[in-house]
Amino acid sequence: MTIDIPFIWIAFKEIIKALPITLILTIVPLLAGFLIGIGVALVRIYKMKFLYRIANGYVSFFRGTPIIMHIMVIYFGFPLLLDQLSLRFDLGIQTNKIPIILFVLIALTLAAGSYLSEIIRSGIISVSNGQMEAAYSVGMTKFQAMNRIILPQALAQSIPNFTNIFVGFLHTSSIAFLVSQKEVTGAANIVASVNLKFLEAFIAAGIIYWGITILVEGISFLLEKKVTAYNRGGVS
């Protein structure tokens, strides 16, 4: 058993074609999860009746279980649920025609929502109470204060956390290969089994993930510098 270095490059060229699916599986759940995250964070901060218990349970459960469970439960559970509904209300949905990627996206979105809500919540809490009082003192409503004063600062401060979540979900999307998605890891697996060159294929996949991670961290670093410029002292 030796390592076929030239094959790594061949595998790389093949596997990188699957990058768009990996990016879809990363970005879509994060964007949708961001909306859930803001909603859940506000529900928890303002302790809205009943809702906040549900929100607490949701965040605790999704953060407390491996993401592979979310994918599997939704992958097996959703079609069952839809079939039942379809049967009862005669909707005529054929669950076997629903692309699997949709189930993966739903699962990852729910997971992303729970993680993002924690980040947004701690971001909001970290903005000092005085900012809220100052907003009230000039005559803003609670909504205006949240929207114009608190959230912009909370989100800017959370950029490093958002980057971590982005990288985390980029990596987590590799789990989707277990439900036969042809994203980067899935493609690597295919290249590996077809050519019986496992190590080379996974090295190539590793390089792709590594490269994207470094790129994202670099962009985030620049973005953070720009967005939190207001926080640095010193007269410019």
Binding site: A134, A135, G139, M140, T141, Y230, V235, S236
Partner: protein, 256 residues
């Protein structure tokens, strides 16, 4: 005109304000003195419902609110009648100097952005910050930040400006600048309620001085009456201690 009747406030069953009655005429500058824990800052914060009183009536201008059944709408209406200058400035950290001043005009007063900018620049000129319009608060000294805070309040042209110990977080050499700005506003006839430890300010600028202790207004009068002919023993003792402290401060600093 401001009118308070029977304002009561407790924190965790600990009464901080025990029924405050107060009337302030338009254009009056009222200073509130008192030892820490006397309830003076709480009283100020009850005026714009940053603290909601447990009982009593608050009136600013033509808005009258019964605090026991105050709705969000009423609290907002009261806040739109007033503005506040905070001890720790509380400038909006993510907005520039001019944006800080514009914010209330745009959001609460619904002024057009362009007009808000003009008005804000004018007010900032008045407090001597025309050259800092596009700086962020973190790039300013404490004294400059507090002058922005004053401009932000002033721009709203409120019935009353509430000052919550506006100079107590400042380095000693910056206090003078801020005080002189507040003085110049006072002379324009804007109604002001000032909680402060600056005795010279209270003496020179205010029309009326209130002395508070343990949640009640112990004594009130003109600066002359309070500083030179206080009727209450508590007032006299407090003033004596304050002047004693200022006598000893330089020594203490040397020791440290």
């Amino acid at each position: 005109m401001i009118y308070l009747q029977g304002i009561k406030k407790s924190f965790n069953q600990l009464p901080v304000l025990k029924g405050i009655n107060l009337k302030i005429e338009k254009g009056e500058v009222v200073t509130i003195l008192g030892p820490s824990g006397s309830g003076k800052t709480t009283l100020l914060r009850c005026l714009n419902f940053l603290e909601k009183p447990n009982a009593g009536i608050v009136q600013i201008g033509n808005i009258i609110v019964d605090s026991e059944k105050a709705t969000k709408k009423e609290m907002l209406a009261i806040r739109k009648q007033s503005a506040m200058v905070f001890q720790h400035y509380n400038l909006f950290a993510h907005k520039t100097v001019v944006e800080n001043v514009m914010e209330g005009l745009i959001v609460a007063k619904k002024v057009k952005k362009k007009d808000a900018r003009h008005q804000s620049e004018r007010v900032l000129e008045k407090v001597g910050l025309s050259d800092k319009l596009h700086h962020y608060p973190s790039q300013l000294s404490g004294g400059q930040q507090q002058r922005v805070g004053i401009a932000r309040a002033l721009a709203l042209n409120p019935e009353v400006i509430l000052f919550d110990e506006p100079t107590s977080a400042l380095d000693p050499e910056l206090v003078g600048d801020v005080l002189s700005v507040i003085k110049s506003i006072a002379q324009e006839g804007i109604t002001m309620v000032v909680v402060t430890h600056e005795m010279s300010f209270a003496r020179e600028v205010s029309n009326r001085v209130l002395f508070m202790d343990e949640g009640v207004i112990v004594e009130e009068g003109t600066p002359l009456e309070i500083f030179h002919a206080a009727k209450e023993e508590r007032t006299r003792r407090f003033l004596q201690r304050i002047s004693g402290e200022s006598f000893f401060t330089p020594l203490k600093e040397q020791v440290n």
